[in-house]
Amino acid sequence: MSTGVAAAIRPRVGSRRAYPPVRLAAAVVVAALTLIPLGYVLVFVIAEGPAQAAELLLRPRVGELLRNTSALVAAGCAASAVVGTGAAWLVERTSLPGRPVWTALMAAPLAVPAFVNSYGWVSVTAAVEGFAGAVLITTLSYYPLVYLPVTAVLRGMDPAFEELSRTLGNGPWRTFFRVVLPQLRPALLGGVLLVGLHLLAEFGALQALRFPTFTTAIYDQFESTFNGAAATMLAGVLVLGCLLLLVGELRLAGRARVSRVGGGAARTAVPHRLGALTPFALLAMAALAGLALGVPLVILGRWLVVGSSTAFPIGQITEITLTSIGFGLAGAALTCVLAVPGAWLSVRHRGWVSRVLERSTYIAGSLPGIVVALAFVTLAVGYLPVVYQTSILLVAAYAVLFMPRAMVSLRAALAQVPPELDDSARALGARPSGVLWRVTLPLVLRGLGTGAALVFLAVVTELTATLLLAPTGTATLATEFWSNSSSLAYGAAAPYALMMIVISAPAAWLLTRESRREMGRA
């Protein structure tokens, strides 16, 4: 009986009802905004024509950038995959002592921006400059992007799969490669894709390590000569790299489904006994945590305490901190508001229109900050000089860059609100606006908070777009830290890095608490 009723109602979730015009229009406008950078680069490259493109691109310098960038992406992705997966497996599936500590430590490097990490190393030794150092430091900064999704899958994976493989004659190693790894594949590929996109976009760390890639070259080109054509052409190559990564990940992810087939709760796994290998595993984990987290924090602390150039201009630090918080809050608010129509449509009106609108924001979000900034600067100067050199332009760029973070959280939250609730509220006499205010909003508030916290964190540590777009005379913690450390004033830079970490802490804490709650529910 009840299943019959449910079946009668369910089709409405993904129904072909007409799209509500106002929300559709809003979602289209937002998608158009997020597609501005990509559109700008494409239109420019096409307008310039092949001859001009060849002249700008077929240079030895571009060849070197291409070699550097692809080598870094390949090596950094591979290293992050190995380190992230290895750490996740040790923490989740073995008898490694101190699991809660490692759980907290392994994800923590995400709170230290890569350019702060590289500053820590560079201020101590020049040996990290160049390719090897760039791979080392970006891996230490970005392996959590692999570690986190792989951990989530390992935690949810039914140990019965491993047990079954054992009964079918496979030892622990063969079981890992034949059963565990294939199931990790989508999470692993997704993580590696994120690492690749971050590496393509990375500016601060690589500039500090004197390892030129397309992103640093675009910045230099722009700063030194304000050469729009050359910079935009390089941006075209960078965009192509991003699209290649996105398509490659889609192709590799394949058609096989990896979620558990069938219902029921998975048992918790019996951990693999490390036995005599325990000290080695502990040593490896301690080394990873020490290098990724200990080194930058200790050096930062040292510069704060004993650095001879450390001045502590409290007034200026306070002012810049407040500026950063202001940008963070404004960015989070604007991004979340703009994400609402698209997220709502993609959950309530599944179809190709809403899918295209949703995906377009993801494509924009995976473009490097330098490309978004370049597009916004050029277009503002040319067509909308009123907003050039204003905070509005910068906050809009943040919204475009970080839209996917808000979108993902909002989507997940909205998916938890069945449309039947709307119907019930309407039947009880609530008007549509009342439904939104009294039913939908309270239910999605938590997801909205998660999205806002994610965007806030990203804005506070954003460097590249801020350097290009911030109004003259406006400094954020990230840009002030950058200008001090790049003029070798390491001690003067330290307080700004500290404040970045301090104001990130509440949002980071909020997110950890949220993810624990999720785990408790799962």
Binding site: E163, L164, A256, G264
Partner: protein, 358 residues
């Protein structure tokens, strides 16, 4: 080559199935298994039944080698796999294992799932896969499908084929039908029973469903509080349970106070012949509702029909005998008494007796 010769050798040496002796296991201070003994003859299917938490799944996991016993030994085909000399890892035990959910590897096709446990060279050859698909009653077209494209019952059957493919010495089934809905459960059970009979593999089936145990197994072991309280053939277990708990677990039971005297139990239903020799004196008789017939004739015990629950093929009739005594009878659906009618009862067959504190 060496592998097959090794196998035939092992089969020649010992064909005595599974033997579990004096196995104990605790998790922390909680004892889960207390001195479990179980023997499964080669080629037989023994069902281990019990309520959830009685230790039956733990026993299965110890046999499989996912966990190690605190004491006792486990022997498969004459080869000790767990005991004082150490434990053999699961992959070295030559066992087949089917879980509640089937747990087909979601990233592999049906064919690749079935071939998973075969040696590398044999995985390519399609012969064995097709053979097993036929054994479990699926047509060859299913080979290229992915697990999520199959129904629950088909998934369970493929899981069985995967477990049988490497020709295990013993097959372990952990509630393999419990996640299926009733209709699918019946048909899957029948398909699995046929496949097992054809393969002739020694099997341990763990279940909490007593009808499943009685209908599938050659032997049934009832577990309670970490012990095996009775191990017998299904008919023996149903007809002669060792105590009231076992009796109630494997079916409905009528319990009446009685006095035993000379192989006959005197109770409200008259003098009933006792199945096994029992101590003289006060006791409790145990009998099945279907043993009570309503057509007792003139010398039957008079009773009054209180209530009839009709199931189609049969019905459960609640009756009162005199003032305070109530019994239930199960009678065929074509001969129902009316509520309120007077009937005369007779008891068919022998009854069980529990002496001591009833």
């Amino acid at each position: 080559m060496t592998q097959t010769s090794e196998r035939t050798q092992q089969q020649a040496v010992a064909t005595d199935g599974l033997r579990v002796t004096g196995v104990r296991k605790s998790y922390g201070p909680v004892p889960v298994l207390r001195d479990v003994d179980l023997a499964v003859p080669a080629g037989a299917l023994t069902a281990v039944v019990g309520r959830s938490g009685c230790g039956k799944t733990t026993l299965l996991r110890l046999i499989a080698g996912f966990d190690r016993p605190d004491a006792g030994t486990v022997t498969i085909d004459g080869r000790p796999v767990a005991g004082p000399a150490g434990v053999l890892s699961p992959e070295a035990r030559r066992i087949g294992y089917v879980t509640q959910e089937g747990n087909l590897f979601p990233h592999l096709t049906v064919a690749a799932n079935i071939a998973f446990g075969l040696p590398r060279r044999a995985r390519r050859a399609r012969g064995r896969v097709l053979e097993l698909l036929e054994l479990i009653g699926l047509d060859a077209g299913h080979a290229k499908r992915y697990p999520h494209e199959l129904s629950g019952g088909q998934q369970q059957r493929v899981a069985l084929a995967r477990a049988l493919a490497p020709e295990p010495g013993i097959l372990l089934l952990d509630e393999p039908f419990s996640s299926l809905d009733v209709e699918l459960r019946e048909s899957t059970r029948r398909a699995v029973a046929d496949a097992l009979a054809a393969a002739g593999t020694t099997t341990v089936l763990v279940t909490h469903d007593q009808t499943e145990a009685l209908s599938l197994a050659t032997r049934v072991a009832v577990m309670r509080d970490g012990r095996i309280v009775q191990e017998a053939s299904p008919a023996e277990l149903y007809r002669h349970p060792v105590d009231r708990g076992v009796a109630a677990f494997v079916g409905d039971v009528v319990v009446l106070p009685a006095t035993v005297c000379g192989g006959v139990a005197q109770c409200a239903l008259g003098g009933l012949p006792v199945a096994a020799p029992a101590a003289e004196g006060p006791a409790t008789v145990l009998l099945r509702p279907e043993q009570i017939a309503l057509d007792g004739g003139d010398d039957g015990v008079p009773a009054h029909v209180v209530d009839v629950e009709y199931y189609g093929h049969d019905a459960v009739v609640r009756l009162t005998l005199g003032a305070a005594c109530q019994v239930t009878a199960r009678c065929p659906g074509y001969a129902l008494p009316a509520v309120g009618a007077q009937v005369r009862l007779a008891v068919r067959g022998e009854v069980g007796v529990e002496t001591g504190l009833g």
